[in-house]
Symmetry: C2
Subunit: 142 residues, 2 copies
């Protein structure tokens, strides 16, 4: 569990002012054992569940984008109408449960290393991400 003072340093060191709102969002996002996968809506809900004061929607968007730009969050590509974010910023892959719309980290032992044999000429690879869509075994869902 990180302390407030650590968040302040973290923010300052990347040129973000440690405002009340950003610190609250840090607490919600980073004071946890497990990776947090969330949409903006999820985060807004977590904030209003955990805090007394409210943070405006615009600030939540601003902060999430700032955190993403600074590398504290990753944005995950899901076949969807909204963006998912991930507090796990290491290189890793995902399962997406189509029954529940839940994003699940794919541990390293679940998948063999991805080997890109050729690349587009003149481009560098920025990321390689695997998305494994799963659904109930016993039903016909899509």
């Amino acid at each position: 569990m990180q302390k407030n003072i650590e968040f302040i340093d973290k923010l300052r060191s990347s040129g973000l002012r440690p405002t009340k709102q950003r610190l609250k969002i840090c607490e919600v996002l980073f004071n946890r054992e497990e990776t947090f996968h969330f949409t903006i809506k999820d985060l807004v809900k977590k904030i209003s569940d955990n805090l007394n004061e409210k943070i405006s929607l615009a600030t939540v968007y601003n902060t999430v984008h700032a955190f993403k730009d600074k590398g504290y969050l990753k944005e995950i590509s899901i076949n969807s109408d909204k963006s998912y974010f991930d507090t796990n910023i290491t290189n890793h892959h995902h399962f997406f449960d189509e029954d529940t719309n839940q994003l699940i980290d794919c541990e390293d032992d679940y998948i063999e290393n991805i080997n890109i044999k050729k690349n587009i000429t003149g481009k560098k690879i920025n990321s390689v991400e695997v998305l494994i869509k799963v659904a109930s075994d016993n039903q016909n869902q899509n």
Copy 2:
């Protein structure tokens, strides 16, 4: 190149009435050598470029969704605010050029087979897709 009569059969066989609009959209989508990656906006533009008559936006959405449901199109997950569709419905992966926002098919010889060693209990795998984000080699882009 497929003929109109083939599209009519194709649509009928999957329980879709071969309407004028759907046939026009079939022509635009499937009468081509290469895979077509597109957003709804792209498709609307192609339609208005190629045809005299106009098709309403709602119909374009309806048709693309119907075609997707019937398996004539795939929807591709991109880190973005809009949906991309693909006329290549085989299992395959993608490059996404972040400079140009272009989606590029990843040929089989570009990537080694993906091997999922473990899966989520009680779920079946519906799809495995790799997205390789690339950008200019000589610039600092993100």
